[in-house]
Structures are given as C-alpha cells and as structure tokens.
C-alpha cells in the first residue's frame, strides 16, 4: 500500500516551514548574533565626497584612543597588494581608496577596536584631506566630451565607457522597420533602486595561526563563489578557507558580491590573530553595496496595421557606478537584457547597449532578478502598451495576437533564447476573468463621465530562470551548475546538503519535500543544511531564482541515485533479482507478489547491517546538476487603479497575479514568494528609488529618505495559477522567486498610464510619485527621469 504523499510532506504539500521554529522564538542565527571568544570589532570610514583626490590621511588621533587595535588605510592595503580586488565582472574595485575616491560612501579606512562604539569614535578621529574633483552622476555626463576620467587607475581606459555591446539581427531588424505601417517609440528610465534586505552585510573573520585556517562567517548568498574569490584575493589555499553563511536576513541579490568590508575584516584577523567582526550600518549598506537597475532605454517597435509586431529595436545606456561589479554571467555585458520579448513571436530584434562609469556606488546586482531581466521585461511591457495605444488596439488583444502559441514550442526568440513550454493565452484569460476585464472597461468609461480616472494595466512575460547551463553561463569562469548530497542514516532518517543558500525561501522545508517525493522518507525525517563550504557540496548559491531549477533538480537526482542503490538492497532482502523488484512511494515489492515488500527504511538499515556480498556499504551520494536549459515561467499581472486628478495620488483597486511556474513543490511557499515579489514591484512603481544630487550625494541613504512600503500602503493580492510543467526539469518545476518583481512594475505603471489615456501623456518614469502624476496630468506632458542632455558645469 503506497504512502499518502501529502501526509508525509511530499510534493504539493503546503508543509509549514521547519526554519520557522527557530525564527518565531527569536533563535535565528544571523551573523551579528555570533560571538567568538576574544572578538574585536571593525568599523569603516567612508568618503563624504563622490569624486576627490586623497591628499593625505592622518590616523594618529585614532591610534591614540584606548581600545583601538588597528587602523588600516589604502596605503597599508597596497603594501600587501590588497588595495584593489577583482570584481565578478572582470573589473577591479578599490578595497580601501589609495589615489582617489570615486563615489560617496567609498571605503577609505578601517578601525579595529575592542568594541564597536570605540571603533566608531576612532573613525571620526581620522583626518582625511580631500581635493574635490568634478562629479559625474549619469551616463549622459559620463559620455560628454571632456568629461573627467573616473577610472584613471586603469591603463587602457581613456573614457568612461565600460562596454559597448550588441546582440540580435541588425539587418533583419532594419528590414522589418522598412516594412512597418507604424513605428511606435518610447524612451524610459528604470531608476536606480537598492535591494535593501533588512539585515545589512557583515562578516566575522577568524584566522587561526596555529592551523593556518581562515573561517569567515558572513552574509553571502553564494559561499562557494566567495571562497574562490577569497582564495584569489588573499592568496590563501582553498582548503584553508571555510566560508559559513548563517541565517540571512534577506538577500535579494545584495549579498552576492564581494565587498571591501569582508576583505578588510579578513586582513585584520590575519594581522591581529583575533576574530574580527564587521557589521555594516544601514547607511553604509544603502550607499555602498550593490544597487539594481539604473538603465535608460530608447525603444522602437515596427508594427503592421493589423497589430502584428514585425521587429523591435532597443538601445540601453546603463549607469554602473565607479566600478563594474555587476553580478552576472561573464559573457553577457548587460546581463540577460536580451531576454526581452521572449513571450512574443517577433521575427527580428536588435539590441545595442552601452555601460558607463559614474561617480556612484558600484554593483548592478540582480535585485530579485535574473541579471537585468527586470529592466528587460519592464521595457518590453511598457513598449507593448504604447504600441497597442498607437494602433488603437485593446492592450489584452494586442498581446494575445503576438504571443508565442502553445503549439509553437520549442520556440527560438528573436534574440536567440530557446523557450520550451507555456500556455500564455490561457494565463491571460485566467487573469482577465479574475479581474473582470470587460466590466472594468465599462466601469472606467462610466467613471470618466463623472471626472474620475480609472485605469487597468497588464503585464505578461516569460523570463529565463535557473542559470546555467554550463555551456553559456559562468561567473569568473566557474560554471553555473549546482549540487546536492544526501546521507541516509541506518534508521532511514537523513541529512541533505546543497550548494544553494536560503535567505528566506524556505529550502529547509522544500528540499526535504523533494526527497520525500522521490524516496517516500517523511519530510520530517530529513534535516537540510546549507551555507558551510566545509560540509556543503560545491554550488553556485542562491540568486536569480536558480535554486529550484538547479539545486532542486540536484536534490531529485541524488534521491534517485539513492533509490537505485536501495533497489539492490531490497532485492537482496526480498531474495529476488533486481529486475523483479517494483517501486511505489516508500516501498519496494516483488512484482509477482505485491504483498512481499520492504520499506526504504528497511533498505537503509540493510545498507549498514545486512548488505549483499560485493555491494559497497552505506547509503550516501552526491549529485551535480547541469541543467540542459533555463526554465521559462510565465506570468500575467493585472492591476486596476484610480488616479486622483486633484493630487496625483493613485490608489490600487485590485491586483491579480497568474503565475505558471510549472509544478509547485510547496504551494504555500510559492504564494509567499509571489506576494513578496508583487510588493517590491509596487514599491518600485510607487516610491522606492535611489537618486543623487549634482554633487553625487546619495539621496536615499537611510529609511527616512529611501521609502519602502509598509503594511499600510501595500495592496492586497489575488493569486491564480496555471501549471505547465518544465519539460526538462526532473520534477517539472520552474523558477518563481523573482517573477512578480520582474513582471509586476509594468502592470502598475501601465494602469496609471491607462488612467491618463487621452490626456496626451505617454510616459511617466518610475516611481510614479503623486507630484509626477499631478504634473503630467496638469501639463499634459510626459515626465522623464532622463537627465538633461547638457552637462552641468
């Protein structure tokens, strides 16, 4: 008799989360909760200026403060060849500034002291003499003739261009535009945002002189990549480095890069032979660590009168800050921006992209996003709405007409990606039905007669989640596969470890459900561990929604290896040949006599106490999984809003989300991911952005200036699902973590633009702050986040 999979916490069970047991008791173990004997505390002195030459640094007053153990400057780092470090994008980044500072908040010096208050006092006692230089705060200024050279440290760098890249079919696209009845154009800015997990970054470096082993407890989403980077930067052998990523208070891509604070704490621990803790403050986190977005678009779409899209042309200018430290696969200069328009059947497309250095913080991280797909999908869905409006077509029907159809898979996109599955029109239908599309359009017309502005916005998209495959995706040359190791104990209980690293996604709960699905071992009998490079198998970590597509697949595959061995043990116990053994969840039985069987627990016991001759003892294995393709979830987000013409304030009336992420392991957790993602989408559409004044001062350096939505502003969400299993993933799952953040913003913006339809306003750049909406409505003009073309001087 087969087990009830839901009862044992297998696939499809909304199993309550295992990790919650410690979090709800206040017993989480975040890096700042860790205290080591003899631990010292590090604080960073940051540059107040965005661009300035360092004339001198006087640390004498800091050294004189009782309790100060070490003061480090760039000069001292340089003497150990550690003043600069490589970034994840083959650029270099200053650890502590030597020649000049290149953005406000850049690390200039560090103090290590007996307690953090003393370290802070000592930082304030350091005197730095700066000679201010002209500041560049946007790509237009960066490209202007005679612009000051930001990266004068690089030998062959003569301008502020980071890269100039192109992808797609230029000639084919030109032909498509020549044949177009209508060309729809749109210029947009996706403003800079910060992922801002509540927990900032931090580390505790603990170098043991006696064993020469370095242990670093740190906030990282990718401990194995960090180990490789530390080995490179600190020139320590890999087996003498242990990276431990404890509980993370959110990540959202912010905790992927290597930051100067980590490196400085490591050097300090080596020099002092004491554990050194560094916990960044919130301002440090907001002004110096990996941001997201900050891309300008010029988009054009070639259209036939009947609504068919013939071609797409995009040019992007992206602002990368002072160092190119984007976290993305090596070969893609602007990440996966060219995943734009993947859900539409478009004959030709061409993208040019230019990246620029500016005097702003570095690190275009994938903020809840697979390497710039958030910008790609936002640009796509804003362009789609503008095109529908230009043609005078219904925005839903325009999408439906251009969707890749269910029978057309696998489908090669105009930019070269291969999509493999989906039911796009069905998702749209479910969404339109749920929001009451036709009724709303009537309601909107009625309301308009009474001077009320209602709007409906749609965003539909498929995005590439789950890098690799290893042929195309690597970071610093390390291929993007992932791993799982499963050890089944004598009693049939088990421990699972993976190369991923949860930061709230609930891996401890869901990974056990995959094992339960594959082996019939109850999920409660399986412990899951991640984040310690001394124990976990090598993996690339958790970001870009890659855990379930890659590490999750490895969990299924290692379970199948275990089952294959258990089958041999079962045959031995049942005294039949392996071919005569059948499997049902949790149990092997004799084909001709189904009552004769042994459980997976019986097999586990036999692996340690009663193995057949010639069979290796034990029941443990490891799987490394290199996915054949990305997974392609599809989403349809629809928002309805009402705009107040008197104030520009807009209220969200309803939000409907239809997500097709294939087979859902734990529906409760999937829905949690979607609701969280929708909130960040709403945040970026409505209030959340980081901006800079002309001097390069970061406006948004704390939570009083950087607005994040609270429970009060955040709307409620109605969720629906469509299931199209991923054809190549072992359990049919696709990524989901970022979908709503990626696809959501356009739904809100399209809704507000729909409410303003007929006023002549074509675009308001995010965030749609009430003053922007009010100004657009009253002046009947677009509101652009674009910088003025002329540079200020």
């Amino acid at each position: 008799m087969s087990l009830d999979e839901i009862k044992i916490g297998g696939m499809g069970a909304s199993r309550r989360r295992v990790e919650d047991n410690r979090f709800i008791r206040g017993k989480g173990n975040y890096v700042d909760d860790i205290v080591l004997p003899g631990m010292l505390h590090m604080e960073i002195l940051r540059s107040p200026l965005a661009h300035a030459r360092i004339k001198s640094i006087d640390t004498s007053k800091a050294w004189a403060i009782p309790g100060v153990r070490l003061v480090m400057t760039g000069e001292m780092m340089a003497s150990r060849n550690l003043a600069w470090m490589p970034t994840l994008s083959y650029d270099t980044q200053a650890v502590l500034a030597t020649d000049k500072v290149r953005f406000q908040g850049q690390e200039v010096a560090c103090v290590i002291a007996d307690d953090p208050y003393i370290a802070k006092d000592a930082c304030e006692a350091i005197v730095v003499d700066y000679e201010p230089l002209p500041v560049i705060v946007n790509p237009i200024q960066a490209m202007a003739p005679g612009a000051p050279l930001i990266r004068d440290d690089k030998e062959n760098q003569h301008d502020n261009v980071v890269f100039d890249w192109e992808v797609g079919d230029k000639d084919g696209t030109e032909k498509a535009f020549a044949q177009a009845d209508v060309v729809s154009k749109l210029e947009l800015h996706y403003p800079r945002s910060h992922p801002s997990p509540l927990e900032t970054c931090g580390s505790i470096a603990d170098f043991d002189r006696a064993t020469s082993k370095l242990t670093v407890y740190m906030t990282t989403q990718a401990p194995h990549i960090i180990r490789a980077a530390v080995a490179m930067v600190a020139e320590l052998p890999e087996h003498m480095i242990r990276i431990v990523s404890p509980d993370l208070g959110g990540g959202f891509g912010n905790k992927v890069p290597v930051y100067p604070g980590y490196v400085a704490s490591i050097l300090a621990s080596i020099l002092l032979e004491r554990p050194v803790k560094w916990i960044e403050d919130k301002t440090g986190n907001l002004i110096s660590t990996g941001f997201g977005r900050d891309v300008y678009l010029r988009g054009e779409m070639a259209l036939r009168k009947d609504g068919k899209i013939l071609g797409v042309r995009m040019h992007t200018d992206s602002d990368h800050g002072a160092f190119f430290s984007d976290a993305q696969p090596s070969k893609f200069k602007i990440g996966l921006m060219h995943s734009a328009f993947a859900c539409y059947d478009i004959p030709a497309a061409h993208l040019t992209a230019r990246g620029m250095y500016t005097n702003k913080a570095p690190g275009g991280v994938a903020y809840r996003c697979s390497f710039r797909v958030t910008e790609a999908m936002f640009f796509q869905e804003r362009m789609v709405q503008a095109a529908a409006d230009d043609l005078g077509m219904d925005q839903a029907e325009f999408r439906r007409l251009n969707f890749v159809r269910d029978e057309d898979f696998p489908h090669r996109t105009a930019f070269g990606f291969l999509t493999d599955s989906g039911q796009y029109a069905k998702c749209l239908d479910v969404g339109l039905e749920a929001i009451g599309y036709k009724d709303f359009l009537k309601q909107k017309e009625e309301a308009k007669k009474r001077g009320r502005l209602l709007g409906i916005g749609i965003s539909t998209m498929t995005e590439p989640l789950g890098a690799g495959n290893s042929r195309e995706y690597d970071i610093l040359g390390i291929k993007m596969f992932d791993s799982a190791e499963l050890r089944v104990h004598m009693s049939g209980k088990a421990i699972l470890r993976t190369g991923a690293k949860s930061q709230g996604q609930g891996h401890e709960t869901t990974w056990a459900q995959i094992v339960a699905h594959e082996l019939g071992i109850p999920a409660d009998d399986i412990t899951v561990e991640e984040g310690d490079t001394d124990t976990a198998p090598f993996g690339m970590g958790t970001y870009a929604s890659r855990s379930t597509p890659v590490a999750g697949a490895a969990v299924a595959m290692v379970s199948r290896k275990i089952r294959a061995k258990a089958r041999k043990l079962a045959a031995h116990l049942l005294e039949v040949s392996e071919e005569d053994v059948e499997w049902e969840l949790g149990r092997f039985y004799v084909r001709s006599s189904p009552d004769r069987g042994v459980t997976i627990q019986d097999c586990a016991n036999a692996a340690y106490s009663n193995m057949p001759d010639g069979l290796e003892p034990g029941l443990e294995n490891t799987a490394y999984y290199d996915p054949p393709n990305l997974t392609w979830p599809f989403a349809c987000y629809i928002a309805t809003v009402e705009v107040d013409p008197e104030t520009g304030v807009w209220d969200v009336l309803n939000v409907v989300a239809v997500d097709d992420c294939g087979v859902r392991i734990n529906p409760m957790i999937v829905e949690g991911q979607i609701m969280g993602g929708l909130t960040e989408a709403y945040a970026m559409a409505s209030m959340q952005f980081i901006t800079f004044d002309a001097e390069g001062n970061c406006v948004g350096s704390n939570y009083m200036d950087y607005l994040l939505p609270t429970a009060w502003e955040t709307p409620g969400f109605e969720l629906h699902e469509v299931v199209t299993p991923c054809p190549h993933h072992p359990i049919g799952a696709k990524g989901i973590g970022e979908c709503a953040t990626v696809g959501g913003p356009a739904a809100f913006v399209n809704a507000v633009m729909d409410a303003l339809k007929g006023t002549g306003v074509r675009n308001i750049d995010m965030p749609l702050l009430p003053d922007r909406v009010y100004e657009a409505f009253t002046t009947r003009r677009d509101i652009s986040g674009m910088p003025p073309v002329k540079t200020e001087d």
Partner: protein, 176 residues
C-alpha cells in the same frame, strides 16, 4: 561592548563613566554597568545575549528592534539603556513559555507570515501590543498598527493573516 554586563564584562580599561542599570527583562531582573550612550537594543543583544531583538536600520524606521517597554511597543535602537533603568522590558524571547508557543508565534508559522525571519520578532511584539489593546482588530487596524515595522520578504498579506489567526485563537481560548 564597554562594561555591558557585570558578570560578562567587568569594568574595562577605558575611563568612560558607567552607570548601573537594572531592568526587569522577560520577568527576570538583570543588571549591567553601561556607558550612558549605550543603546537599549545593544544592551539587550550583546549584554543580555537576547539576540532575537534585531537592529535593522539605526533610525527607528524598520521596527526589527521593537520590544515592549512597560507594555508599550518601542524601538529599542533609539532608546538609551540608562532610560530603561527600573522598567519592564519584554522581548521576543519572552513570548513563549517553556512548553507552549504564544498564539502569535503559532499564527506566524501557520499563515506563513515570515520568510527570512529578520523582521519577525519586531512584528510579533508589535502584534502583541495591538492584541493586548484590541483583541479583535480589523484588517485595516492591523495594517495601521504594523505600519512602523518593515518587511522586505512577505508583502504583509500573510503577516496580517497571522495576526488574525492569533486573535481568533486568543479569543477562543478566552471564550472557553
């Protein structure tokens, strides 16, 4: 931390003046010698080793450091430890008894009201203050009460449900 806790950190070498404070924390009197500038959140975390109270923003915006101060929710990152001398403080560690979770804790787990867990202690403490005052709040009342606590993972909808779950359980217990 300079001279945080009598037992753990006897007076250190620095010549900073310290003051002895005694706080009733989670029902137990604890004393420490503290610098007058020491924040209450830091005394709770490093001095008393109650690390469930988190510091998320340094500016009283995020609410991860929320504790009950004489029954009222306050942000312990913006109160000095010396101001808490002689007062009653409850942290997340005080919610459960040895054998039983508080209904708010059960609600957060059952309604998936947390993901990374960093904001959760502050959220639950604020929810307790709300339910102590208003045992049967509406959704709007819950959202308003929690608007001083930021969450970056959940989107709040499940947090609201968690508080409603707890309210139902508390009210059912009271009715029986």
């Amino acid at each position: 931390m300079t001279s945080l806790n009598e037992e753990v950190f006897p007076d250190q070498a620095s010549n900073v003046p310290v003051r002895k404070v005694t706080i009733r924390i989670n029902g137990e009197n604890r004393s420490a010698n503290v610098e007058p500038r020491l924040l209450l959140a830091h005394l709770i975390r490093q001095g008393f080793n109650l690390t469930g109270t988190h510091t998320g923003c340094d500016t009283s915006n995020c609410g991860a450091c929320t504790v009950l101060f004489d029954g009222q929710p306050i942000k312990s990152c913006t109160m000095l430890a010396v101001q808490a001398d002689g007062h009653d403080v409850m942290t997340v560690e005080g919610l459960a008894t040895a054998s039983e979770l508080h209904p708010i804790q059960e609600g957060f787990k059952d309604e998936h009201g947390l993901q990374c867990g960093f904001c959760t202690p502050g959220m639950m403490i604020t929810a307790k203050a709300l339910l102590d005052e208003n045992p049967d709040p509406t959704e709007d009342e819950i959202r308003w009460a929690l608007s001083g606590n930021l969450c970056r993972c959940t989107g709040y909808q499940n947090i609201v449900k968690s508080v409603m779950w707890a309210a139902r359980k508390i009210n059912n217990q009271a009715a029986n």
